[in-house]
């Protein structure tokens, strides 16, 4: 193992060295040009956004105070100053939990959507962010959990489809915490999704499911949030934790994902995984897990079982 690691390091270093001579000593003019064009586009978009905000503010003022701007000595609202270089991220929500702040920001940069959650005090702030071209894809829920030792809560955030009405965290041990769904603010072109955030206090183990629920109370999607505590999580293709496998060699090498289109090449892995004493299996997959074939079953029986993993999957097409 150590030899292989060393070999991998050497190969990577050699290949990276090859690329050392490919970049010029000074920034090429085409890169500089792209930076300029990008800045110009951003300034233009921010100008448009600022103008729209100003018009909106003016219209609101006129609606609420129809005579305000006609009274002598009353100045019309001043439009917000045009930012020299706009910040692509806008604050969606912010708050305080036991004296420490959290902040959830989102924004669009060209075709890319960026999200960021930060927690902590002004002296020490920690965060996690991501940028995606299509953050939701054909799903109803994409969630990420931020669990910092310095912050007394786990902050779960992400994106949900417009069909999702509410998001809750459902503790395995019982009880729920309601999250909040927000529209992404400040977008000229609203995205086809909303964002959400749940702050889950760490008073008890944070183990359970994030549920995305529609207006009729149907659960459209779920995402497992579990602390692994040195154990290896067995996740499904959607990143949901199905169960845990003790993290000891050689089990690591037998890792496999349920629900994937298995092939005969992986049949030995699947047979092997089926012998694991999985714990903390999702409630929805308990039956599936209990129904795994006995060792003497055929390869086809194992393949069918593996592919019949019962939850998750893409959002059904509306067509």
């Amino acid at each position: 193992m150590i030899d292989l690691e060393r070999e991998v390091r050497e190969v990577l270093e050699q290949r990276a060295e090859e690329s050392a001579g490919w970049s010029s000593e000074h920034m090429p003019e085409r890169v500089r040009g792209r930076i300029r064009r990008r800045q110009a586009r951003t300034v233009l978009l921010s100008g448009l956004a600022a103008a729209l905000v100003a018009l909106g503010a003016l219209a609101t003022t006129r609606t609420l105070f129809p005579t305000a701007d006609r009274q002598p000595g009353t100045e019309a609202p001043t439009p917000p100053p045009l930012l020299e270089e706009p910040t692509p991220l806008t604050v969606v929500a912010s708050g305080e939990f036991r004296g420490q702040e959290w902040k959830f920001t989102a924004g669009r940069d060209g075709e890319i959507w960026c999200f960021e959650v930060k927690t902590g005090t002004t002296r020490r702030r920690e965060g996690m962010g991501s940028c995606e071209r299509d953050p939701l894809g054909h799903r109803h829920l994409v969630a990420t959990a931020l669990n910092r030792r310095s912050f007394p809560a786990v902050v779960v955030s992400g994106v949900v489809s417009r069909e999702v009405d509410r998001v809750v965290f459902d503790f395995d041990a019982g009880g729920q915490i309601e999250g909040r769904v927000y529209a992404v603010p400040g977008s000229i072109e609203p995205p086809p999704f909303d964002v959400f955030l749940i702050v889950i206090p760490k008073e008890r183990p944070v183990r359970g499911l994030v549920l995305a629920i529609d207006v009729d109370g149907n659960v459209l999607a779920r995402h497992g949030v579990y602390e692994t505590r040195g154990l290896l999580g067995l996740e499904d293709v959607h990143g949901n934790v199905v169960g845990y496998i003790p993290a000891q060699p050689p089990l690591w090498e037998e890792w496999a994902e349920p629900g994937t289109r298995a092939t005969l090449e992986r049949i030995e892995s699947i047979r092997h995984v089926a012998t694991f004493p999985l714990r903390d299996v999702w409630p929805d997959v308990r039956e599936w897990w209990r129904g795994r074939p006995p060792p003497e079953a055929t390869d086809d029986a194992f393949l069918d079982w593996w592919q019949s993993y019962p939850v998750g999957g893409p959002m059904p097409s509306s067509s």
């Binding site: 193992m1 390091r9 920034m27 930076i35 692509p88």
Partner: protein, 176 residues
């Protein structure tokens, strides 16, 4: 008024010089990382440039400008993985039409495939390759790698372990 104009030009020059400095200091590293992730010089160049251009626009808003290199590395990896999602759609389309493709290629001679370590590394799934590159080339900890790939530390352990198992199996197959 003149003073303002001079100050603006000076600021612009200063900004330009800072960007140049950042480029010289960080671009080769980003290029190396992009090459290890893509295995293709031109793709790597596009990827590293795109990451640099995007990040340079946000430079003034970075909480810690000293960490430009780390931000650039993260942007390269994220862009690479999001770009691959598009490729996966293209690949799914190709799979649907695989029968035609196979028929079209059936007369072509076999191309000998190099199965050296670099070749096998390139054949790893994108997230596995990214995890290996970040761990063994960038020397990031499991926690730091998990932060960049936005997954748990356990997932990183699993990605790296699966990658190493694949490498070992493939190389063993080559020896036999």
């Amino acid at each position: 008024m003149m003073g303002v104009g001079v100050r603006t030009v000076a600021r612009s020059e200063e900004r330009r010089a800072r960007l140049d400095e950042l480029y010289v200091r960080h671009f080769p590293g980003a290029m190396g990382l992009a090459y290890l992730l893509t295995g293709d010089r031109h793709l790597a160049e596009d990827l590293a440039q795109e990451a640099f251009v995007r990040l340079s626009g946000r430079f003034r808003h970075l909480r810690d400008p000293q960490a430009f290199g780390a931000y650039l590395r993260k942007t390269v990896v994220n862009l690479h993985l999001s770009g691959l999602r598009r490729l996966r759609v293209e690949r799914a389309y190709l799979e649907r039409h695989r029968a035609d493709v196979v028929e079209m290629q059936s007369d072509m001679p076999d191309v000998p495939e190099s199965r050296d370590l670099w070749g096998v590394l390139q054949s790893l799934p994108a997230r596995q390759r990214a995890a290996v590159v970040l761990r063994y080339y960038e020397d990031l900890s499991e926690r730091e790698t998990a932060a960049i790939l936005r997954c748990s530390v356990a997932a990183i352990k699993s990605l790296v372990a699966r990658s190493m198992a694949t490498l070992r199996n493939e190389l063993r197959g080559e020896d036999e």
